[in-house]
Symmetry: C2
Subunit: 336 residues, 2 copies
DNA sequence: TTTGTTGCTGGAAACGTTTCCAGTTTCCTT
DNA sequence: AAGGAAACTGGAAACGTTTCCAGCAACAAA
């Protein structure tokens, strides 16, 4: 069943059928009606490959996810997917491991699948303009903002929180509760990553309150995984380092740290307060309930698609959209 | 840059280039060499739309996920995705809400995206042959097995655990610890679903040990969400119902229940033991660590793809693959 | 020598759309 | 009444592949 069959059956030309399908204005109500009826009757669906071929593009948008095992991304992926679907795009998702390069992956997908655009979810955030130049379709960074060249280059789009400021906000909550020995649980990074920015927020909060930054209080782990955070915290505690509070840059990591603290006989929040950033579902169900700065995940996904859609359409300019968190008070910090 | 350009530059015919690209045997080593060099030099990638068009098929496999917010699926999705990628397929994922019909969704994707096959992840498990007949490409059920007509019809493929037997195994663990008032936390279902099968396993375990099944000990909630499980358990407790153990059909639900128990002042495992099925990462980090029957998620994803791949290739027959869980002892059950 | 086989090659028709262009009708303006 | 714009329509070329078919050379078997 092709467009030709539809044309034959409804007694019009192929081009007219095409116009009906694509909602072109230049077709009489009568023809439109007639064709639509036939289309419905045979529930005809146009062949996408042929459309893509002649339009020299597809309706596919790539979603490149780094570290989707982090449940923080699950909600975002979901909202991106439904937003794309609503806008008539097809989502092609690719998860990449720590050894892969997302730009290379994106570039190959872009050509291979003839992508219209790309959304990067949870990426490296230190892409140089040269690196990005290999991409010829619009892209949007979601959950992070590119900070190559210390933010001077703003020729890209993103949706994220203000990492440094939000981290500062979190640490200020701890300081407000009288904490001075505050550990920071961050993921290893020599680049300008989310981790680095949140670390800077941590440093800023301490400095602003006259607390000296003690490098031994920095707990570094390889990834955002619970396991890594657990092990790094455990190791730090085994070294005899002590603190009265922990700021974790992600809920996932906070949950890992909590287990390490528990196993070391350190009570949360009795002996040690804990705060983090993200607001994943499970953080509301564990004991003690995690105090966290929740990110508006649905909104972030939706806005990423909106932005990408505008870039694809040619309308709209690059912009770095910043969304804000809200503090969800759990019970992992001691009372003021 | 098209196949024609490559042909022109390397001084051969278009068809020869095509044969080189597709590894056809009928091409001399010399020509092959020459063409490959040109392809590499211009790093040419064939246009997928055109290939799909002429071959009247694509390389896309659909993944239809019901309830991906359940983190149990995250690992499976990941393994499905990498397995598909390795096998040269493109994954097109669609998440559906509780009001959508996955078959309808699959059918429209199948035609729209020209899918080669479909993997259903976490579905309804009571599809009738008539319903399934609208699909014209092979499909595999992952994490569940179709139980329409009480398992008589085996004309489909699946990868799952033996729900009833595994549930029985879980409940037996509780019985072995001397529990008699055992609640079951299941999701609402009037169909032959995972929930129903696991419920039957629960019933069987009780009956086999001479324990009467008390319907008031069944906690029903709408979905597999933590929130629903939390609220359903809370409600049950508020009604004054008491029990010394809970069997939850999913980790997610167990975590929700744990919070309800905690808030009611019921200690786990002191006053109430808890066991569930799944083995999601976070269940290992909460306090008390959840005792659970872990499903081999990586394996399940990989096997689903393997199976689908064989069905697509025309080799291999339908089969219902059953994988087994292993007990991960946490601390949510009292000691023997 | 003929005949057949094998190995390779090029030409060209398809695949199912979109879109440009030219044409026809209708209807409005002068 | 003539002219032209506007509304609609059909024909056909194009998109970039794959694949069928025919052809050619070389070489073996009769």
């Amino acid at each position: 069943m092709t467009i030709k069959d539809i044309a034959r059956i409804s007694g019009v030309a192929v081009s007219t059928v095409s116009r009906v399908i694509n909602n072109h204005p230049d077709v009489s109500a009568e023809s439109r009606e007639k064709v639509m009826a036939v289309i419905r009757e045979h529930n005809f669906i146009p062949n996408n490959s042929a459309r893509d071929l002649v339009r020299t593009k597809s309706d596919a948008v790539g979603l490149i996810v780094r570290g989707s095992q982090n449940t923080f991304f699950v909600d975002i992926i979901h909202s991106i997917e439904s937003a794309l679907d609503e806008a008539g795009y097809t989502m092609v998702m690719r998860q990449i491991g720590s050894n892969d390069n997302e730009i290379t992956c994106a570039a190959s997908m872009e050509r291979d699948k003839r992508l219209l655009g790309i959304i990067f979810l949870g990426g490296r955030s230190d892409y140089s303009p040269d690196e990005l130049a290999v991409l010829s379709v619009p892209y949007v960074f979601c959950t992070f903002t590119n900070s190559y060249g210390t933010l001077k280059n703003t020729n890209y789009s993103s949706v994220s929180i203000a990492d440094e400021a939000e981290a500062e906000k979190a640490v200020n909550e701890l300081i407000a509760r009288g904490h001075k020995q505050i550990a920071a649980l961050i993921s290893a990074s020599d680049d300008h990553s989310i981790s680095q920015l949140r670390y800077l927020g941590y440093v800023k909060a301490l400095k602003d309150h006259g607390i000296t930054v003690d490098d031994s209080l920095i707990i570094r782990c390889g990834t955002f995984n619970m396991k890594d955070a657990y092990e790094a915290t455990k190791k730090k505690l085994a070294e005899g380092v002590r603190f009265t509070a922990v700021f974790a840059i992600a809920d996932n990591m906070a949950i890992g740290a909590m287990r390490a603290l528990r196993e070391a006989g350190i009570d949360v929040p009795g002996d040690c307060s804990l705060i983090s950033i993200d607001g994943i579902e499970v953080s509301e169900y564990i004991d003690p309930m995690l105090s966290t700065l929740t990110q508006p995940m649905k909104e972030m996904g939706r806005k990423s698609v909106e932005q990408l859609s505008e870039l694809i359409g040619g309308t709209g300019r690059h912009s770095q959209i910043t969304v804000t968190t809200s503090l969800r008070e759990g019970a992992s910090m001691r009372q003021i």
